[in-house]
């Protein structure tokens, strides 16, 4: 048991050293973790409550105040501090993104493992289902589902509805990826050996397959999370979020519906969008780097490297080595 632990630690250390060299990966990690930090420490970082109206000296609401020393990002149409909304909005956006991402990852991995390992009709079924899901246009489908769920008066928070709908529709790419990995792993030696000694399928999956696909799952999940955050922002923009707990998308919905654009109040619609780009870019960079490290494509193609091919150094007069 401890030997496996040592190997794991060494692998992680190697990975870390390689990762450290990759600037894009580090940048991505910085973006993601800074956002998580802000979300986590929201109450400490925001001077106001997100729905609190700031009033000026005469007690009137300070609407559409441009950024200045205080408040640093200005206010919206109801005099609320943008920065505070941004910081609290991070919680919602990130929560939905991560939760939906995990659900999609979980469903996708499980189905992918099952389809890849057991093959035959399970595999067929999975492939056909993903094919079908991919063909149906995603946003209209989601909108209909969300609209229906909300209308059913099930007393679920709109946020939960979003998480469910996104998670239940975005597992397809993960499933396919995991499936093809499992397919190739299945043919490998250690599986045959395990079966020869009579190991059951669950044991094989747990002990051999899962550890091998775990890195890929992690890389893929990060990418799915970025997609989930983007989608959530879109759905919230269309008004399907929870107005009492605004995410960044909801902030943009307010900005659009309440004339921030026509009022030239760029500080109302710019920050939330930038925040979304910040996080999703970070996730994409991180995920791409992780994937690249697992599937490195280091070989060049045939039309590269012409310029440096002939690089003859001047020949020294004597090529003999002195004894």
């Amino acid at each position: 048991m401890s030997r496996r632990w040592i190997i794991l630690k060494r692998n992680l250390l190697n990975f870390w050293h390689a990762f450290r060299r990759n600037r894009m990966g580090l940048f991505g990690a910085f973006l993601v973790f800074s956002a998580l930090f802000v979300a986590f420490f929201a109450p400490f970082l925001s001077p106001y409550q997100p729905n609190e109206t700031i009033r000026d000296a005469n007690g009137r609401g300070l609407t559409f105040a441009p950024p200045s020393v205080h408040p640093p990002l200005g206010t919206d149409d109801a005099g609320r501090d943008i920065w505070s909304q941004l910081v609290y909005g991070a919680r919602i956006s990130l929560a939905v993104g991560f939760l939906a991402g995990f659900i999609a990852m979980f469903i996708g991995s499980t189905l992918g493992i099952l389809a890849g390992y057991f093959g035959s009709w399970i595999d067929n079924l999975l492939m056909r289902t993903t094919d079908i899901l991919l063909v149906i246009p995603d946003l209209p489908l989601m909108l209909i589902l969300v609209a229906t769920l909300r209308r059913l008066e099930l007393h679920i928070s709109p946020i939960v509805i979003l998480v469910l709908v996104i998670g239940l529709l975005y597992w397809t790419t993960t499933a396919r990826l995991i499936r093809s990995q499992v397919l190739s792993l299945k043919e490998r030696q250690f599986v045959a050996r395990s079966r020869a000694i009579g190991a059951g399928y669950f044991h094989i999956i747990r002990k051999h397959i899962v550890p091998q696909i775990l890195p890929l799952v992690v890389a893929n999940t990060v990418l799915i999370i970025s997609v989930a955050i983007l989608i959530e922002s879109g759905l919230a923009f269309l008004g399907l979020g929870d107005p009492t707990r605004p995410s960044w998308g909801t902030m943009l919905n307010f900005a659009f519906d309440r004339n921030a654009i026509s009022n030239g109040a760029w500080w109302v619609y710019l920050p939330p969008g930038l925040a979304i780009v910040w996080v999703s870019l970070g996730c994409v960079l991180l995920g791409n780097v992780l994937e690249e490290m697992l599937n490195p494509r280091l070989t060049s193609h045939h039309l590269e490297g012409e310029a440096l091919m002939v690089a003859r150094r001047p020949i020294e007069p004597s090529t003999q080595e002195k004894p």
Partner: protein, 325 residues
């Protein structure tokens, strides 16, 4: 498996998907609380119980949901009767058809530009890998991908109207509403600039990335080395050997993208108040006009499924290797 089998499989697949979409559409509608009668006559009209019963019988709503109502509804849909919009008091199909052309115009323009630019950029980026062109293109695509569609639209809208005097919304200026489009082309063109630009930027990144990775893969193939050994210059190799092979996946991508293009349309049309199917969908959503939602979804889904099938069949004829599965 030869071509005919392949063809058959694709058609069957399309039909199965259609069936699922239709079934989903039907049952979602039925799952909603409230009386289906309301869907037919609207929500705010008061009717007596006798009239209700009569209507119920007339529309077959007293029959069991499955299979009778199901088959009935399918028949209705096949005939183009998609119900009546609650909010607009018009037949859904009429509304849909009137907006279809606008969306088609916008999407086609956006796709054409993004495909041309994306392909060219992707080719360049893959060929000159790791140079500044490649890095720049990759960065652009990455950032474009990480941006929410609608937010890009908002920014372009704000910048475009403030700095370039471009219109802030609509498909034509208010004074031109109702006139046939070919009469007001300059006005139409001005209104199309920003939404088209938004869509182009959005999809440009994706096409570029796909083309680039396709080019990278193709350029690593042995026959490229053969071509080079024959004495072809880099550009000749690209044009005569790499391009055809690299563009094949693009066809599939365009097909897959149809679904996502529709999503893009919804956001872009909303932001720019562009009077197309996308905006219609969003309005229906806000007003909870379910017949309209259902009808629009059906139309969009069917269009995408058929377009996909056509693209698959097209691929079949483009790639001489597709004979076996």
């Amino acid at each position: 498996m030869d071509r005919r089998d392949f063809l058959l499989r694709k058609i069957v697949f399309a039909l199965v998907t259609l069936a699922i979409v239709v079934t989903l559409n039907f049952f979602l509608f039925r799952v909603l609380p409230g009386d289906p009668i309301r869907a037919v006559i609207g929500r705010n009209i008061r009717i007596s119980t006798e009239t209700q019963a009569a209507l119920r019988a007339q529309f077959g709503l007293d029959k069991p949901i499955f299979p009778d109502q199901f088959i009935d509804t399918l028949g209705q849909w096949a005939r183009g009767n998609l119900g009546i919009s609650w909010s607009l008091r018009q037949p859904v199909s009429d509304v849909l058809i009137s907006k279809l052309g606008n969306t088609f115009l916008l999407l086609t323009l956006g796709q054409i530009f993004s495909i041309i630019l994306g392909t060219a950029l992707g080719l360049l980026a893959g060929w000159k890998r790791k140079t500044s062109v490649d890095v720049g293109a990759l960065t652009f695509s990455l950032v474009a991908w990480a941006m929410p569609t609608f937010w890009l639209g908002i920014i372009l809208l704000a910048a475009g109207s403030a700095w370039f005097g471009l219109p802030t919304g609509g498909i034509v200026s208010p004074e031109n509403v109702g006139k046939p489009l070919y009469q007001v082309l300059p006005d139409l063109a001005r209104h199309l600039v920003l939404p088209t630009l938004t869509l182009t930027i959005l999809y440009l990144g994706e096409y570029m990335l796909i083309m680039r990775s396709s080019v990278l893969e193709v350029l690593s193939e042995d026959y490229i080395l053969t071509a080079k050994a024959k004495g072809l210059s880099d550009w000749q190799v690209l044009r005569q050997h790499a391009l055809k092979n690299a563009m094949l996946p693009l066809v599939t991508l365009i097909a897959i993208n149809l679904g996502f293009t529709v999503s893009g349309a919804i956001y872009v049309e909303t932001v720019f108040s562009y009077d197309g199917l996308g905006k219609l969908f969003q309005t229906a959503l806000v007003k909870q006009d379910f017949p309209l939602l259902q009808g629009a979804f059906l139309l969009l889904a069917v269009t995408v499924i058929i377009a996909n099938m056509i693209a698959d069949i097209l691929y079949l004829y483009l790639d001489p290797r597709v004979k076996t599965s």
